[in-house]
């Protein structure tokens, strides 16, 4: 339970995986697809202290987002319009989903519904 270290790791992962990413007020904009060599784009969203980080993320179509749960309690990642749904993720479990179509995808943790997040696919 060291959120600071975790956040540093998260940032490092994001910076390492996503080419030229920008963090503005917790909103991450990934522009990896500008690099034509990147056939597959991957982004990580972490779950710490009952919240998704980043809470809102913008990616290009084709991006795979992986959610990793760092809490001591199980969480889920469930699309509000039923586009995707994870099983309960225990500590360090992860769930991935590839966003092929552009649009806005709101999601939440069905175990702790005050935990919400959003994926914007361009």
């Amino acid at each position: 339970m060291k959120p600071y270290i975790r956040n540093v790791v998260v940032c490092a992962v994001l910076l390492g995986v996503v080419a030229s990413s920008a963090m503005i007020h917790g909103v991450s904009i990934a522009r990896a697809a500008e690099n034509k060599n990147a056939a597959v784009t991957a982004v990580t969203v972490t779950v710490d202290n009952f919240s998704f980080t980043p809470k809102e993320i913008t990616v290009v179509a084709g991006t795979t987002i992986t959610w990793v749960n760092h809490d001591d309690v199980p969480h889920t990642v469930v699309s509000t319009d039923k586009k995707f749904k994870s099983k309960a993720l225990d500590t360090d479990d992860q769930f991935s989903f590839t966003f092929t179509d552009s649009g806005t995808y709101a999601y939440f943790c069905s175990v702790h519904p005050m935990m919400t997040g959003k994926v914007i696919v361009q």
């Binding site: 001591d72 199980p74 509000t80 099983k87 309960a88 500590t91 939440f108 005050m114 919400t116």
Partner: protein, 339 residues
Amino acid sequence: MQGNGAAKKRPLGTKARNSMGNIIKENLNSDGIDRRGFLKCMAWAGTGTLCVMQGGVLKSFALGRGNSLDRAAIRGDFAFAQISDSHIGFNKAANPDVTATLREAIAKLNALPQSPEFVLHTGDLTQLSKADEFDTLDQSLKSVRTDRIYYVPGEHDVLNDNGEQFRERYGKDTKGDGWYSFEHRGVHFVGLVNVMNLKAGGLGSLGNDQLAWLKEDVKHLKHSTPIVVFAHIPLWTVYPEWGWGTDDSQLALSYLKKFGSVSVLNGHIHQVMQKVEGNVTFHTAMSTAFPQPAPGQAASPGPMKVPDDRLRSVLGITDVNFVRGKHTLAVVDSTLAGS
């Protein structure tokens, strides 16, 4: 000390004033008849509390460790107990051995001066809804000396299968997602489910089907029937920022307005909190597994690590004594650390 006319005329005893006067705010209507008032008391994790309710007036006493409270004084017509949030399968720093502390809670139940005629488990039996976690819980609870154990699910018990396994094990005669009611010695008990079909951004939820059932369930009961409602997530808004409340609980409570005595027993927040509003007394129980922080006192409501030698002072059980004819319900929280 309780249950006599003199006590009725004096909503808060001198002892209560001395011990809890700093956190109790009272505003009583002195109408001399139903004595409905508003009184709020809260006790954070680790504090034992005794509450006696008489016709809507709560008397509250802090139980210090070693306090020689005479439990015989609150002995009623029958007693039942509540345990909550066993989280079998949890093994992180906040408590690496939740089965051991559950066993200690059971020993505590079995040592009560008045044996509970039944036990209510208010949810989060398991950490991850796994079959072997339910098995371990069942195996442990076999040693509870009581006639029956009633269950309602917590959100940890309905992961991945919408509560199918839970209902198969504990809710065969229940309605809908697992709600039900039963009578015991003239008291009407209602077990509600508020951990299913939760909506994004929302709190706990009962849902329209369950609300319609509840309305019908209590419709034909006499106003004098004492009501005890139990559910996992608090049915009052404790702290919405952490999801500690139930979106449609006000509607449920509106169906219970006509009753003189309504007691609501919840778990979920792993600490003792109480509140009285009109005819309704709300109470949350300690966990048998690990404590959670007081509202807003940590970055999240996750399991709280306390020093090892303090753990048992923040885990515990609740026992309830009912005194017929006096509308008296005495709720006693005891930690595992107490004698």
